[in-house]
Amino acid sequence: MNAANYLYLSALLFTIGAVGVVVRRNAIVVFMCIELMLNAANLSFVTFSRINGDLNGQVIAFFTMVVAACEVVVGLAIIVTIYRSRRSASIDDASLLKR
């Protein structure tokens, strides 16, 4: 089977994730979409690893996972904090960074 198919899949997932980040308002869903994008990237890495025949891509994907985990931890903490003060998980409500 052609390994490139995984790349196409990765591109599709990444795009869907990106759209999700833009169109969804619930912070948690947005986060999940970000995770989706990261995973799509990971899939690419693994595929590249296979195409090139060495394990570097897999190591990078591994790192990505760690970083993604960190990011989720901190990000969710932020969401909790915001939720505590605003009683809302909608990211549109936190729009003070303007003008």
Partner: protein, 629 residues
């Protein structure tokens, strides 16, 4: 040339007086006027001493110089602060210090009630110093210093009572119009330096021979511009009438006897240039002739005694300029008329001052009348001056003015005839307006208000008038006896062949006297036999109206220079604000505007930022797509 070490005292004494009086301030109120008068007089005596030395030397050794210090020296532009006294300068030195001292004495009394008398004397001394520098400078640039110095003194003295806005304006007008003339002098100096490499009188005189006529004409014309400014000649004449705002002694000294004749001095001093530049010389004559008539016509309509005299001054200086423009033969006569005019016009101005002094500073002659009885001495001295200006023999004007008329007739061809007629006609008109002044002021019925208590002036005032009156009577004879002045000055001027005589002196004198008689007669008929209205009649001919408005000179200047200038200024001020600064501010506004336009993108919504990032990613991928194609 013989060097001297005493020349500088001529200038230093009055300059020191001025400095002491100005720096000491109110502390010198008590004795300031005396110090100033004494210093002016001592300067006069230094002048007399120099004259006696000069008389003791042979003709060629008479000019003396004194180098004070090196003033400006850059490259080949070397100007020393040095003085030169020759036969021409000494005439002026004695006139300035002599008449000046008399007027100092006069002013002690005339200004005695003024709280700022000390300042007045400081300015008078400053003027004497500057005027002496003007006539003693040995280069055009040194002359220029004195030239602007007298302008400054004149400005300060015209505006002496500058708390009156009109007087302040008059002084400013005088300064600015003089500056236009000064600009001419600057041009002359620049041309001289660029073409001859020197600006000293002796250097320029030597360089004339190998300088092109075009350059000389340029220098000559520019010198003429300078002369018209300082001597109130057409077309820069308009300031002189307004300059009468100054105290009367100032009018007598500066605006009659000395400063306004500086233009004549300049032209006479530059005789070597004008002799080599006939075009310029011709223009000098034309300017002189125009001003002569111009002043005379204005004089006929003025009711203000000082302005009438001022118009007369303008006209008389026109005679001098005309004389100076007639070339080598005319210079000496111009100077002679200048000297005699210095006596009689100063005397008449002082007389006018005396009249004003007795009449609560009223200047309108229609409010005078019959003052002969109340001011006999003033009447007598003024009368002698009057006879002198008319040119009645044997008074001073007879000798000097007739010489100019005669020279004008004899200058040859149509030019001679035209000039002769103009000068003759001028003499007639002079007779008319001076007689008018005499009649309105001293004879007829009294027309003054009840408040006026005419009285004769104190001796401190009439004494200078009397001395000047003696001068007006005798100076003409003394100066022309045996061609004294002509011979005295002759080493300075190059003589060419004499013109043929068109008319003999006797005929000219006869014609002139006839014209004077006609003028006097008309004036008598018009003013002595009829009642004079104490308010100027308004139903007068258009000519009188125009003459009363100084032949529309101010209107012309206003319409042609002042108003366009003001409009230009206003436009430029607005343009600077709107266009130039506007462009600068526009740059700022563009930055600001683009910033606030882009600010709209910063909605604060994280998702819109994300959308932008996505768009950026699309752009990036698109770029890669295009590049890798």
């Amino acid at each position: 040339m013989i060097t001297s070490t005493t020349l500088v005292y001529l200038i230093a004494l009055p300059l020191a007086g001025s400095a002491i009086l100005l720096l000491a301030g109110r502390r010198s109120d008590k004795w300031g006027h005396l110090l100033a008068t004494a210093l002016s007089a001592s300067s006069f005596f230094v002048g007399l001493y120099q004259l006696s030395l000069m008389l003791g030397r042979s003709n060629s050794e008479r000019p003396i110089t004194q180098k004070l210090f090196e003033w400006i020296s850059v490259g080949s532009f070397k100007i020393d602060a040095s003085l030169m006294l020759d036969q021409l300068s000494i005439c002026f030195v004695l006139l300035i210090t002599g008449v000046g001292t008399l007027i100092h004495i006069y002013s002690i009394s005339y200004m005695s009630h003024d709280p700022d008398r000390r300042r007045f004397f400081a300015f008078l001394n400053l003027f004497i110093a500057a005027m002496l520098l003007l006539v003693l400078g040995d280069s055009y640039l040194n002359l220029y210093v004195g030239w602007e110095g007298v302008g400054l003194a004149s400005y300060l003295l015209i505006g002496f009572w500058n708390q009156k806005p009109a007087y302040a304006t008059a002084s400013k007008k005088a300064f600015v119009m003089n500056r236009i003339g000064d600009m001419g002098l600057s041009f002359a100096i620049m041309i001289a330096f660029a073409t001859m490499g020197t600006v000293s009188f002796s250097g320029v005189k030597e360089a004339v021979d190998h300088t092109s006529t075009a350059a000389l004409t340029g220098i000559g014309l520019m010198l003429l511009v300078a002369a018209t400014g300082k001597s109130a000649q057409f077309p820069l004449q308009a300031w002189l009438g307004d300059a009468m705002a100054g105290p009367t002694p100032v009018s007598a000294l500066i605006h009659a006897a000395t400063m306004v004749t500086a233009g004549v001095y300049l032209i006479t001093r530059s005789n070597f240039i004008f002799d080599a530049a006939p075009t310029a010389q011709l223009l000098v004559v034309i300017i002189g002739a125009i001003t002569l008539m111009f002043g005379a016509l204005i004089g006929t309509a003025k009711d203000d005694i000082k302005k009438a005299l001022a118009a007369s001054t303008m006209s008389q200086i026109g005679y001098m300029i005309l004389g100076a423009g007639l070339g080598p033969v005319g210079y000496a006569f111009a100077i002679m008329h200048l000297l005699t005019h210095g006596f009689f016009k100063a005397g008449m101005f002082l007389g006018a001052g005396s009249v004003m002094h007795g009449m609560n500073d009223e200047v309108n002659m229609r409010k005078y009348g019959a003052l002969r009885k109340f001011m006999p001495i003033t009447f007598a001295t003024f009368g002698l001056g009057y006879l002198a200006i008319l040119g009645v023999p044997p008074f001073a004007g007879f000798y000097s003015k007739d010489m100019i008329i005669e020279t004008a007739f004899n200058s040859g061809g149509a030019k001679g005839i035209i000039l002769g007629c103009v000068t003759l006609l001028g003499a007639g008109i002079t007779a008319f307006y001076m007689t008018r002044v005499m009649i309105l002021t001293f004879t007829g019925k009294s027309r003054w208000d009840d408040e006026a208590h005419p009285h004769e002036s104190p001796w401190l005032m009439w004494l200078p008038m009397a001395i000047l009156a003696i001068g007006s009577v005798t100076s003409g004879y003394l100066l022309s006896h045996g061609d004294a002045l002509v011979n005295w000055l002759s080493p300075l001027f190059e003589h060419h062949g004499e013109h043929e005589e068109l008319l003999s002196p006797m005929v000219v004198s006869g014609l002139a006297l006839a014209m004077v008689a006609i003028g006097v007669a008309i004036a008598f008929v018009k003013y002595s036999r009829n009642e004079v209205a104490s308010v100027a009649p308004t139903d007068v001919s258009i000519f009188t109206t125009i003459a009363r408005q100084d032949l529309l000179q101010d209107r012309f200047n206003e319409a042609v220079f002042m108003q366009p200038g003001q409009a230009l200024t206003a436009v430029l001020v607005k343009t600077d604000e709107a266009v130039i600064d506007g462009a600068v501010r526009g740059v700022g506004r563009v930055a600001l505007g683009s910033g606030s336009a882009l600010r709209g993108v910063q909605t604060g919504f994280v998702r819109s930022y994300a959308a932008l990032i996505l768009l950026g990613a699309v752009a990036l991928v698109a770029a890669i797509w295009v590049v890798t194609q």
